[in-house]
């Protein structure tokens, strides 16, 4: 176990050490970050199959652009956690602030508490599992990937979304422009079963409890007759 105490060492040395693992055969696969104290950009840009435990809460952009690593935050995460993640996983034991998983292109983001507004904004292939609720404007302009919410969703869910899939177990305060409820087909139950298991939520919910939301695809081509929809 490699231990990094952010009270004793600067953020730069932590990220530099993690970046040095890229492309290396290493047995330094277990890392621990002590005293994050809300620091920004903790473990950003990692590109190695390592396990990183962050013992506390983080500021902005923890795990940003992650590739391969599994990052477990034993606290809550500030804005933009796992933004633009490529692969690997970021698991948050507490809550996540706004823009969780923004523009993520792959990998898995798990929020065991709730996520604030704009969760999954502009997502491009990432899978997001939120055990609690999500705030307003979540999955705004979401392009692809899957967002699973065990609790409730705030206003304007999936506004202007493209091909991302959204599953919500609780209530949805309102749907955004061009977002509609869609039929749950057999493949969606299978998909959910897998996502709930990987999202460490398989004991908390069953696939048949969810409703599916997606794009009505009415706004894909600009038409003046749709102007009032925007």
């Amino acid at each position: 176990m490699e231990t990094f105490d952010l009270v004793a060492a600067p953020l730069r040395s932590l990220n530099a050490a993690l970046h040095s693992l890229k492309g290396q055969e290493t047995n330094r696969t277990e890392w621990e970050v002590l005293n994050p104290r809300g620091a920004h950009a903790v473990a950003t840009g990692v590109d190695a199959p390592v396990e990183i435990r962050v013992r506390g809460s983080t500021g902005y952009y923890c795990g940003g652009m992650n590739k391969q690593a599994t990052i477990r935050i034993e606290g809550s995460a500030g804005p933009g956690v796992a933004e633009n993640m490529m692969s690997g996983a970021v698991i948050i034991e507490g809550d996540a602030s706004q823009y969780a998983g923004a523009t993520g292109r792959g990998g898995l983001l798990v929020v065991k508490g709730s996520a604030a507004s704009r969760c999954g904004i502009s997502m491009k292939g990432i899978d997001i599992v939120v055990h609690g609720n999500i705030g307003h404007m979540s999955a705004f302009m979401a392009q692809s990937g899957r967002l699973v919410v065990l609790g409730d969703a705030g206003e304007a869910l999936g506004d202007s979304l493209y091909e991302a899939l959204i599953f919500v177990r609780g209530s949805v305060k309102s749907l955004g422009a061009d977002c509609v409820e869609k039929e749950m087909r057999p493949e969606h139950f299978e998909m959910l079963e897998d996502l709930l298991r990987r999202g460490e939520a398989d004991g908390k919910a069953r696939p048949e409890e969810f409703r599916r939301y997606g794009s009505a695809r009415r706004l894909y081509t600009f038409s003046i007759d749709n102007a009032s929809s925007y």
Partner: protein
């Protein structure tokens, strides 16, 4: 009665034939006009400034003997690997998607041959441009199409785009006809649909967040890359100051003459300020913060010649960027395609339907047959020639002003031909010592 002189038909200066035609077009279609390019209206511009040249009190340098340096360093504030360019004329960000792959390759070839940088756009980094660009600036845009850490690390600099001069406050738009398989794949979108690029970044708002975003990008790239912040000509004093406060190495400032691949004509013509009005405000902000020349300033929007380069530098910029002029150098709007421009209802020099993807010159298109009309090697050579001419022209002016480096040009070398230009540029009206508005804030 019929022998009396009659009042001749008189057109309104308000309701001109062009205005009336646009009203009729709007009434018939119900949609606003979308087009490419920058503003077409007449504005106070670099043409309204003149250099004084040398005289008894200033002596010139010999044009063919004494050197006049043109190189520029960008990103010296924080980056471990700042950029060194041979000339202070860079190529502005233009997307693969808006432009063909061949056009992007030609821009890379031309910029590299002339010793300068080129820039990606709202569509990610292509192999064509990375492979053919010695120095490539990677744009970090609200859409984040194709964004990934590997491309961030193989870029030579990162440009966080907040806005652009053609549409400060607006997002992008790429209509379905230009979304080919390859463009769709790079943007993670279905083929053939209209693609909207957001106007705001998805994961930060305001200058305090921007500071943290810059920290994140520096951490991901191990503090190697210069980080630029690009803004449209909106509130240049405050935007420059806030970009510096947020930690930018370079500020890129784009006036309303700057082009776009596509947006509403009303946006292009009515939002933002001309570059002439923007530069002095940005320079003042840098000076007030003690950061002039520490944080470099790149300006763009209507740069056409070495005279424009010299004037921008004399007002305090470190470098300029060209977009529209580079496309014209490649062959955009060339009269040799006149018959085809006519067939599209336009004429060479006025063609601006870049969003439709039917560009006869093969530049603003994804149609393989049209795109094949542009030879990237030949296009690159034409661009390189043009960049070299601009540089020689700027040197000619600088030597005439007695400057051994382009960066030594200064506002004292300039006068203005009009009161408007004098006020905007902060240089005296020719033949006077009057700088209108100098008593004001800027």
């Amino acid at each position: 009665m019929s022998d009396f002189p009659r009042t001749p038909p008189r057109f309104s200066a308000t309701f001109t034939p062009a205005v009336n035609a646009e009203i009729r077009r709007a009434a018939a279609t119900g949609i606003y006009d979308i087009r490419g390019g920058g503003t077409k209206r007449s504005l106070p511009h670099f043409d309204d400034l003149l250099f004084l040249g040398a005289s008894i009190s200033r002596y010139p340098l010999e044009g063919y003997r004494e050197s006049c340096s043109t190189d520029v360093w960008l990103g010296t504030r924080h980056a471990k690997k700042p950029i060194h360019l041979a000339i202070p004329v860079t190529i502005a960000g233009m997307s693969f998607g808006a432009l063909s792959g061949q056009a992007k390759e030609a821009l890379g070839r031309g910029a590299t041959a002339a010793g300068t940088s080129t820039t990606t756009g709202d569509g990610g980094m292509t192999e064509e441009e990375r492979g053919h660009s010695k120095t490539l600036v990677y744009q970090y845009l609200p859409s984040r199409y194709g964004m990934n850490p590997d491309d961030l690390r193989r870029a030579d600099a990162i440009e966080i785009v907040v806005g652009q001069g053609a549409k400060p406050g607006g997002g992008g738009m790429l209509l379905g006809q230009k979304i080919s398989d390859r463009v769709a794949e790079m943007r993670d979108l279905p083929k053939g649909i209209d693609q909207r690029s957001a106007c705001r970044h998805p994961d930060w708002t305001g200058p305090d967040d921007l500071e943290i975003k810059i920290l994140e990008l520096r951490e991901i790239t191990d503090w190697e890359k210069p980080i630029y912040v690009k803004v449209g000509g909106s509130r240049p004093y405050y935007d420059t100051a806030l970009a510096v406060k947020a930690g930018a190495d370079v500020v890129v400032l784009d006036g309303m003459q700057g082009g776009t691949a596509a947006t509403q004509d009303v946006f292009i013509e009515h939002v933002g300020m001309p570059i002439l009005a923007c530069i002095p405000q940005a320079v003042k902000a840098l000076q007030d913060l003690g950061m002039h020349r520490e944080v470099q300033l790149i300006v763009s929007g209507g740069i056409r010649s070495g005279a424009d380069v010299a004037k921008a530098l004399a007002l305090g910029a470190d470098a300029v960027a060209i977009g529209t002029a580079a496309l014209i150098a490649l062959g955009d709007n060339d009269p040799k395609w006149e018959a085809e421009y006519q067939a599209l209802g336009s004429t060479a020099g006025a063609y601006d339907d870049w969003h439709e993807g039917r560009d006869p010159a093969g530049i603003t298109t994804q149609d393989p047959e049209l795109a094949a009309r542009l030879d990237p090697v030949l296009g690159g050579r034409r661009l390189s020639n043009y960049l070299k001419v601009m540089t020689l022209e700027a040197q000619t002016i600088a030597r005439a002003c007695g400057k051994s480096s382009l960066r030594n040009l200064e506002p004292e070398d300039l006068v203005a031909l009009t009161i408007e230009a004098a006020a905007m540029a902060g240089v005296p009206l020719a033949g006077t010592d009057w700088i209108p508005g100098r008593s004001g804030r800027f």
